[in-house]
Subunit: 172 residues, 2 copies
């Protein structure tokens, strides 16, 4: 199973592709790709949305994931920033759906729990564990790309747990 | 000049197309089309976003407007609803930009001022004036479609005023 994780942001949107090799012992996680879409704040919003949509569509098409995983957002910041983040998030979900991929969402707490084992882990701990779990020698090109990889790992761990719970472990 | 107005909503998204016939005396406003995209709340968000994107792209392509006008949103409601509205808005702006149309935004106060002459006008007053200005015999199929027509009228009035201010009135 291959997962395409997306960490949406109004300036930087990270993506990360992780695969689980179910045939390997201990279901090894394999890092396939990661990157950051950087937006120019001086550009108009529609232009920025076209860039995010185009780059995500290209990357999803290239990596052919089974599923796209996005972080659920709950935050108490002002409604204005929520609206702006929503614009990016809507376009990201559209890119996934247009490519015919199912979209799953995970709360930040679940992502941290799945990667670090502790829901309130710091950002640095998440990045450290992402590098360790994927056996990366260098850090991803941005914190957002690392977060996107964490989201993908979260889905793989969750899917594996559900699989084991269903008594289907190892059959895939 | 033909304007495609969009009133974004998480359940109903209205659109309305209005043209200004600059050759006519008093620059007559002409109603071209209006409609409502109704979303099924039971469907997943990506599916709903695909529907909005598809329908808006089809309507913009069909009506070939010179510009797409969207309402600016400022609201004090919770961040969660702002995020959801942002998702729809992002997809609407992407549809316009993908069709190669410039996107303009107007604050609710400007829209009401342009249509009713009073920034704090009630929703019913806006609908009444939209019907009157466009000489419609029946009301648009939803309040959202009426609002979308109001946004289009606002841009036409604003563009005309700027034109007159620039001393170019009547030359177009």
């Amino acid at each position: 199973m291959r997962v395409f994780g997306i960490d949406c942001g109004t300036e930087f949107t990270g993506y990360g592709v992780v695969e689980m090799d179910a045939r390997a012992r201990n279901s090894r996680l394999v890092h396939c790709a990661a990157g950051t879409i950087r937006l120019n704040k001086k550009e108009a919003t529609p232009t920025r949305l076209v860039k995010i949509f185009g780059e995500l569509t290209a990357q999803i098409t290239l990596h052919e994931p089974d599923v796209v995983a996005i972080e659920e957002v709950f935050f108490s910041a002002n409604a204005k920033s929520a609206l702006k983040l929503g614009q990016v998030r809507g376009v990201a979900m559209l890119a996934a759906a247009t490519c015919g991929k199912p979209v799953v969402e995970y709360a930040p707490l679940s992502i941290k729990s799945a990667v670090v084992g502790y829901g309130l882990a710091a950002k640095e701990q998440v990045q450290f564990m992402v590098m360790r779990l994927l056996a990366l020698e260098t850090a991803p090109d941005s914190a957002d790309a690392a977060d996107a990889l964490a989201i993908a790992i979260c889905h793989l761990h969750t899917a594996q747990t559900l699989d084991l719970q269903a008594g289907a472990g190892g059959r895939r």
